[in-house]
């Protein structure tokens, strides 16, 4: 694997390989010594043009557990705020000797540009670009669903036959997009539930079903319900009348959680708007996997960095993976 830019073009075998390696990484995280020497001498740059707490910390933890050196770069307080272009920033990183660049950018497609422009030779990992994709989030969600369903027997399995309902602001959500592609590639059936104003226009081209009523969707008893964050910072128009109305119609509260079938789980990529898309009772219920998602995130990102950096470089052999 040379880069990880999206889940749309990720094939089933590669996705399963990442998830299986993540299982092995998760195993090492329960040991006395969690640090592995695997990526000693490699440099990973976290290049964040947009605010993030958990994704950046998660990538940093993943790289450090594998003994890579980590350089954190936040656009605020850097030369980017003085007007430096993506190209100049990239070439600076190249000169520093970065082996992998983990990039988050408000512009959809920025990681793709970085990977294909020839400005750098480092592997590029998309850590969220605009409203396009957030592949490692989808991978950790799939990992979490698989782990809850199959436990220690997870290796090698896909999500065939599982039904996942994604609820909320699909329009602005790169997490939803990455999950739609990955989960369907892995055999799951995906249903989107959203106010009509927050459904993307081209959704008819996606391999999903769209439902506008949350109670109707939950009555079908999905195996996993994924709540999306209402992205107030991206809302420059009135997509729904009031927060209270949104919360009443599309929020996951204690009553709706209680009505779910026995094995169903509730995911949220975080950060949560408690009381808006998810109530505290739902977020803290035993069905909620929010904290598991965070620890699984480290394992999945360790797997991605391992597959990107550990082996002989693909471009030197001309093969893939």
């Amino acid at each position: 694997m040379r880069h990880l830019l999206d889940t749309r073009t990720l094939d089933r075998a590669t996705a399963l390989r990442i998830l299986d390696v993540a299982e092995d990484m998760a195993d090492t995280q329960s040991r006395e010594v969690k640090k592995l020497p695997t990526l000693r001498g490699k440099t990973v740059v976290n290049l964040f043009f947009e605010d993030s707490t958990r994704t950046r910390i998660s990538f940093e933890a993943a790289a450090k557990r594998l003994s890579a050196d980590v350089i954190n770069f936040a656009a605020k307080g850097s030369s980017v705020s003085k007007g430096e272009s993506l190209k100049d920033t990239a070439q600076t990183l190249e000169a520093i000797g970065a082996d992998a660049v983990v990039v988050r950018h408000p512009g959809s497609g920025a990681p793709q540009t970085l990977a294909t422009s020839g400005w750098i030779s480092a592997g590029v990992v998309n850590a969220g670009d605009g409203t396009h994709e957030h592949p490692t989030q989808a991978l950790l969600d799939a990992f979490t669903i698989r782990k809850r369903r199959f436990g220690a027997d997870s290796r090698g399995r896909d999500l065939s036959g599982l039904r996942v309902t994604i609820v909320g602001d699909v329009l602005h959500s790169r997490v939803a997009r990455s999950n739609v592609w990955l989960l369907t590639t892995l055999g799951a059936e995906v249903t989107l539930v959203s106010p009509p104003t927050l459904v993307p226009q081209n959704v008819s081209l996606w391999p999903v079903r769209v439902v506008y009523d949350l109670d109707e969707a939950l009555a079908e008893g999905p195996d996993a319900v994924m709540m999306l964050r209402i992205q107030l910072e991206r809302m420059n128009a009135a997509y729904f009348p009031t927060e209270r109305e949104y919360s009443r119609r599309w929020g996951l509260d204690a009553r709706r959680v209680a009505a779910l079938p026995g094995g169903s789980i509730v995911l949220h990529p975080g950060p949560m708007n408690r009381g808006l898309e998810i109530s505290s009772e739902a977020a803290d219920s035993p069905r909620s996997t929010v904290l598991e998602q965070v620890s699984n995130g480290v394992s999945v990102r360790m797997a991605v960095l391992y597959l990107l950096l550990a082996g002989e470089r693909d471009d030197e052999r001309g093969g893939d993976l």
Binding site: R17, D24, D27, T28, R31, T38, R155, A310, G311, E312
Partner: protein
């Protein structure tokens, strides 16, 4: 040069029985023994040795697997390897006599990686090494404690261990 078989099924089973006796003899019984196989075929051999030891000593011996992929120093020289599961028996390895089991001992680099991997799991009292085939060409100061058979080989030759559980056949071959 052609491929020739250097060990047949009966030879392999005789070698393993002898190693099982030697392990028991050097440990003065089965107390505190833990067998850890190195994937893939080392795990199979580890389980076979554990069964043999249990049969001889009439006590069951904890057996598991130890993956060394993430501890290797030659990862960048090969296409990306997939790690294999590590399974440590419930009793752990602290204060135990750990016997590492592998099929072929060549450069010694897997064993070096295994020693590092062990360190991240616990602190055994003693670590021993049991090997089915020692083919020479060590690159590190590592030597086995229990050897099934020494097979002098040229560096370019391939020593291939095939076991029923993994390959559906049972033999050791050497060839180009």
């Amino acid at each position: 040069m052609s491929v020739r078989t250097v060990l047949h099924q009966a030879d392999i089973s005789r070698a393993l029985t002898r190693i099982a006796h030697e392990i028991l003899e050097s440990n003065r019984g089965a107390d505190g023994l833990v067998l850890l196989g190195i994937p893939t075929r080392g795990v199979t051999l580890g389980h076979r040795l554990a069964a043999l030891i249990s049969e001889i000593a009439q006590v069951s011996v904890p057996v598991g697997s130890l993956d060394v992929t993430l501890f290797r120093d030659d990862l960048a020289k090969h296409p990306t390897r997939s790690p294999q599961p590590t399974e440590i028996p419930p009793g752990g390895i602290d204060g135990k006599t750990v016997v590492l089991v592998d099929d072929v001992l060549f450069s010694g680099r897997s064993i070096r990686a295994a020693l590092d991997a062990l360190q991240s799991i616990g602190r055994p009292a003693v670590v021993r090494l049991a090997i089915l085939i020692d083919r020479g060409h060590r690159e590190l100061p590592i030597r086995p404690d229990f050897v099934g058979k020494n097979i002098p080989s040229a560096r370019t030759e391939r020593v291939n261990v095939r076991l029923f559980e993994n390959d559906g056949a049972e033999e050791v071959t050497i060839g180009e």
